[in-house]
Amino acid sequence: MLTKRIIPCLDVKEGRVVKGIQFLNLVDAGDPVELARFYDKEGADELVFLDISASHEGRDTIVEVVERVAAELAIPFTVGGGINKLEDMKRVLRAGADKVSVNTAALLRPELITEGSDYFGAQCIVVAIDAKYDDELESWRVYTHGGRKPTQWEVTEWAREAVKRGAGEILLTSMDKDGEKSGFNLALTKAVSEAVTVPVIASGGAGNADHFYDAFTEGKADAGLAASIFHYKETSIGELKSELQKLGVAVR
């Protein structure tokens, strides 16, 4: 039976993990490879590295990170952040990443999705969507630039468009819920999951196992992504998975 995936997200800046400093048992908690190894051992199904480097020089360091992770780990991982053109995709995928995620760049120039998908196959292209509820729209509006700029897109319309253009997966972040630890945005997740035929990763709001359970059942998500609850050891992936198993969710 296909299992639901649990995906920790690591924010990487100039080659260093910027959250997750509470791993006292690690020699170097700022090393992305060390943290990746730790999560792999804990049972993470995939990893997402989000490059938040501000400079081009900083962004070059992600390629080294990708090479080192690919050399050591046998689980799939995605790289996002700073992917603006086909060349950027080639750089990280050739370094050993399995997927790239695109967000703002895809909204500014949707052809980028098709270019990546035609070149590497749809399974390599994740479209990340940041969405926030909008009273005027009576639905969720898609934002770019890390949630700073609103677009004209309603979330399910953009998700459908992204898939039509070759997205193999949708990484959906609720801006309303992000950082709240009060649970995923179930209505949003369900709306997008039902709108597209490709897998949807729910993100934003994870606080405990029940939240993941709700996202997988009511929200119809295929995977759940979280950062802080894993980084700050509020729950381990192992504990989370055994609780989900008790609740009847198929996990690895």
Binding site: E72, E169, V198, D222
Partner: protein, 213 residues
């Protein structure tokens, strides 16, 4: 020495990394004369069946693979590489495959016999059910979880080529296939943690043993 067949289809780096990790010597090449010198062939690949066959035929690699396997060289296909071992696929129009194993490749229907729709691709970790434990790729392994990403699936009436399957909705997905020295996995062993690495090790071992014979 393993030869990883490079025919321009997708991301071969993770397969290379995996062989490095298990300290298996390999070359990555698209040249038949170089690949001929190896003891076993790995055919990876992501992308479309039709594009892949066009590349393999255009470069002479299709004939090369057929000839090498006729002479008994072990061959393992991964993901699309496994699908290419079969007779034909309906992806982007009917395309002839390498025809080394009996069966055809079709898209997941996306809806069960009872009318329930499901996601395509079949993406994520699914557990294996062994149908033939004695298959060389499965020796010493348990029915663990492995990582799949695919929208097309092999269909065959010859159950003797099915070594392991995974279940996705109402589809029995051929996951490990093989006959004699020709075999393949629908999932990505290079991304499938211990079980995947075990399968790659088994293939490398079989290649090394074949060399000694």
């Amino acid at each position: 020495m393993i030869g990883i067949i490079d025919y321009g289809m997708g991301n071969l780096h993770s397969v290379c990394s995996a062989l490095k990790r298990i300290e298996q010597p390999y070359i990555l090449s698209g040249k038949p004369e170089e690949l001929h010198e190896t003891d076993g062939l790995l055919l990876p690949g992501v992308g479309s069946f039709k594009d892949a066959m066009t590349e393999l035929e255009g470069t002479g690699l299709a004939d090369f693979i057929k000839k090498e396997t006729e002479n008994g060289k072990p061959l393992m296909g991964i993901c699309l590489g496994m699908q290419l071992l079969f007779e034909r696929s309906t992806e982007n129009g009917l395309t002839e495959g390498l025809g080394l194993l009996p069966g055809k490749v079709d898209r997941f229907r996306g809806v069960t016999g009872e009318g329930k729709s499901y996601k395509v691709p079949h993406m994520g970790w699914n557990n294996l059910h062994f149908l033939q434990k004695e298959q060389p790729l499965l020796i010493g392994l348990d029915e663990g979880y492995v990582y799949f990403v695919h929208s097309f699936v092999v269909q065959t009436d010859n159950r003797e080529v099915l070594a392991a399957a995974a279940h996705y909705e109402d589809v029995e997905v051929p996951a490990v296939v093989g006959r004699n020295h020709i075999m393949g996995t629908q999932f990505h062993p290079e991304k499938s943690s211990e079980t995947g690495m075990g399968i790659l090790k088994n293939f490398c071992q079989l290649v090394e043993e074949g060399k000694q014979r």
